[in-house]
Amino acid sequence: MSGQKDGHTAAHLQVTVLLFAGLRERLGADRSEQTVAAGTTVADLYAQMFPVGPQGRLPVMFALDQCYVSGTTALHDGAEVAFIPPLGGG
């Protein structure tokens, strides 16, 4: 973890957001490096990156480090976050 280096408080976290399907197309990128305040949850980050538009916000599930988590889960420095749009596999 790099958040505590040089003795500073980890006031900000660096996270990598992976984007898929319609969200990838909306941002025009399949990943995005984000700097967020400590205490930010995965749902907070989704709301920041995808403000509610005229058609509302796509309902997503949240993954942190490749596991499903609830939206209230706090981010950590170095996290791999994914917003999981409605699934279409099978």
């Binding site: 309902p59 480090d65 499903y68 699934l87 596999g89």
Partner: protein
């Protein structure tokens, strides 16, 4: 055997992965691509995945089925990229000592895959394209067990 591939899915390989001398039943489920959706003609379908997590979820589903129905073995292959109409996007092979558990485990595996495995399907029509959601997709409902980190 659990995998994602951009190649054609090979049914005999998946079937062989679960077939053994103690099995009394083998079922091989093929999910295949369809050329229409609600009256619109689909010209092309393509799939993309969150690959590491998708393989982890597919593995977890196989292990859950094997724990719930003793003696069951499950193998899953899912195709990515463009999948031509009538070809398999997913094949799930299941063996069991007896047919009842084989049917139950096969049904569990495909239903749970549709709800939990991070794979997306885009349907292309003559006049546009759309990301299609499974009705089983766990959005807005309980996704079952949230994994401990």
């Amino acid at each position: 055997m659990i995998f994602l591939t951009h190649a054609v899915l090979d049914e005999p390989t998946l079937r062989a992965a679960v077939t053994h001398s103690g099995a009394g039943a083998v079922l091989v489920f093929h999910g295949i691509t369809r050329d229409n959706f609600q009256g619109r003609t689909v010209t092309r379908l393509s799939y993309e995945a969150y690959e590491g997590m998708a393989e982890a979820q597919m593995t977890a589903i196989a292990r859950e089925a094997e724990a719930r129905w003793p003696g069951v073995r499950v193998a899953i292959g899912h195709r990515l990229g463009v999948v031509p109409v009538e070809e398999a996007s997913v094949i799930i092979a299941v063996s069991a000592p007896h047919r009842g558990d084989c049917y139950a485990a096969s049904r569990f595996a495909i239903d749970t895959l549709k709800a939990r495995v991070p794979i997306w399907k885009k349907e292309h029509y003559a006049d546009g394209a759309e990301w299609k959601a499974n009705k089983e997709s766990g959005h807005g409902v309980d996704v079952g067990e949230i994994e401990e980190r």
